[in-house]
Symmetry: C2
């Protein structure tokens, strides 16, 4: 709730600055609608991770100023501008239970520019609140580098699995890993923790220890685990469990399920997939699901999850207690542990 | 030519770094096509302005390292990512004599992501070449601030003059000024000189003098003059003069010509404009042009140009010779003068 309240502050700050430039009132109204429609209303996991991690690293409740700062960095992650353009490029229908922004009357392709503006907001906010901090430039680079990596993942995704052209020969577990790492793991898993580490002034290196590399080594596989779980639940989860009905098969998604099945499918099974994957038809979807069951996808997932969990757990146990350069924070394994448990519990 | 040669260096640097991330070869191919298709081939005025201005401020030929640095900043301006998305949002057909990128087969809406990647390139290049410079963070802010301002202008433009809905009551000279300032003047006129000033380490303030504000006060009106001239030549220029046939009237452009005419039109003339502006029809276009002539648009333009030129000229004469903080450069009025003369001569 406190985190959500920060959004009101941020939103008004952005709108006031926007207005002060002397743009016409219609443009201010439009910008307000875009912010209100596209930013709040998600699960806020990514944004809250920044605040939670800062609290764990500092090892105490945050002051009001620290909370605001951490929350701003978190909202910088939640300002997920690329969701707006992703929906447009994918031709998606709804997001978070409402029509995608580009499908709102009068918006259409203007959503492209609105997406760009959401991205620019991050830099406005970071400038307003962090310009005097010694780590200001690190924040700018972090958001910028992650944006580029996410765009790279988006590109690989778009040219591998265009919705209108089903071609499973383009799929592979390798491609899948690349897409997941670049499109999801860096942005949604590494970025929140790296922002918290930066705000807590974790050193880039102390003797043999490289804290950001350690975070990367844990959070990229964790993001991959999250996405594999997400893909598996899309196929195997009940609507109560996942809060929606899975559509990855009919949407021609390059998901873990299809890639894992393709890797072991017989020629006959592959033929069934080729003929039925990515078709907007319930009978086709059922035939694909039957092949998934035939190859034992459930067991494969359970084995994968067990191993992923154990490996990540072991890595987290090894996280060293590095002190921050200002002495006010410590890199603590609990921050990573909390992240892992949040993901692990989703499927239980 | 030297400037164009730098592009090859930059392009390979970007592609090598992209490849090194371990993305699939199809993605590298795609990225290469996008860079080659969208970046070189323009008039390069904006990019060259950076190099020219640095040379003028330093008052001597540049060393190889200085040239490379200035050229990189110039290509950062030429990486005009928003042209790619502007064409898509406007539904334009061609740019620089070839189909717009989004109209190339297989590209389509992927152009949105490609546009984002072009923008990210700027920050990759600046990081690679300026990270150790004391003005690194100023460059990041400058590119980022100008992007946000350009997006703001784009928004005002998109909601004022949608191509599919002609409504001249939304037009006004005031709106026009806002769009031109935000969409064109900051990015194409202020940014190149401000980058050169930053690279030459011009101070933000010395006693009563504020060099960046002085640049802004000259270059924003100069950008406006450029755009007004561009709009006027679209109506009155010969194809030999402008290298194309004007289409602003049929494209429902919120141009200086229509706004200036609307400001003085009689009810009858306004009715003619309402009935004929923005129609894809040569007879309609001719009727609009007749109204432009009736209100004396040519004389109005000549008067405007004379006054704009004299005012700008007077302001440029007042530019003080501010020394850079490292003593290696001087703010010289010749940089502004060169810019003004380049624009002025276009119409002669
Ligand atoms: Mg997508
Ligand atoms: Mg999508
Ligand atoms: Mg999913
Ligand atoms: Mg446009
Ligand atoms: Mg356009
Ligand atoms: Mg024009």
């Amino acid at each position: 709730q406190r985190f959500v309240d920060t959004w009101t502050i941020i939103r008004n700050e952005l709108l006031d600055a926007f207005k002060a430039q002397g743009v016409p009132p219609e443009a201010v109204e439009w910008y307000k609608s875009s912010l209100d429609y596209n930013v709040p209303g998600g699960k806020l996991n990514r944004g809250l991770s920044v605040v939670d991690s800062v609290e764990i690293f500092k090892g105490r409740p945050l002051t009001d100023d620290e909370y605001l700062k951490a929350a701003i960095l978190g909202w910088g992650v939640e300002l997920a501008y690329f969701l707006v353009t992703d929906d447009l490029m994918d031709g998606s229908i709804t997001r978070r239970g409402q029509p995608c922004w580009y499908r709102v009357p009068k918006v259409g392709n203007i959503a492209v520019n609105d997406g760009g503006m959401l991205k620019s907001c991050i830099f406005v906010l970071v400038k307003n609140h962090f310009k005097r901090e010694p780590y200001y430039v690190d924040l700018l680079e972090l958001y910028q580098d992650m944006a580029y990596i996410t765009e790279t993942g988006q590109l690989v995704d778009l040219i591998t699995a265009p919705e209108d052209n089903v071609d499973l020969s383009k799929f592979s577990l390798n491609h899948y890993k690349t897409i997941v790492t670049f499109k999801t793991a860096f942005y949604s898993f590494y970025l929140p923790v790296a922002l918290a580490m930066t705000m807590c002034r974790m050193p880039v290196r102390v003797e043999q220890t490289t804290p950001y590399q350690i975070a990367l080594d844990i959070l990229i596989p964790l993001g991959e685990y999250f996405q594999i779980q997400d893909d598996f639940l899309d196929f195997a989860g009940t609507p109560e469990q996942i809060g929606k009905i899975g559509t990855d098969i009919v949407d021609n998604k390059c998901s873990w399920c299809v890639n894992t099945t393709l890797a072991v499918a017989s020629p006959a099974q592959r033929a069934v997939l080729n003929a039925n994957y990515g078709r907007k038809d319930a009978a086709c979807e059922a035939r694909v699901k039957a092949v998934f069951e035939e190859v034992g996808l459930r067991e494969k997932y359970e084995a994968y999850e067990r191993e992923a969990y154990e490996q990540l757990s072991a890595m987290i146990d090894e996280v060293p207690e590095v002190e921050s350069v200002d002495g006010g924070a410590v890199l603590r394994k609990e921050a990573f542990r909390a992240f892992l448990e949040k993901v692990y519990k989703r499927s239980k």
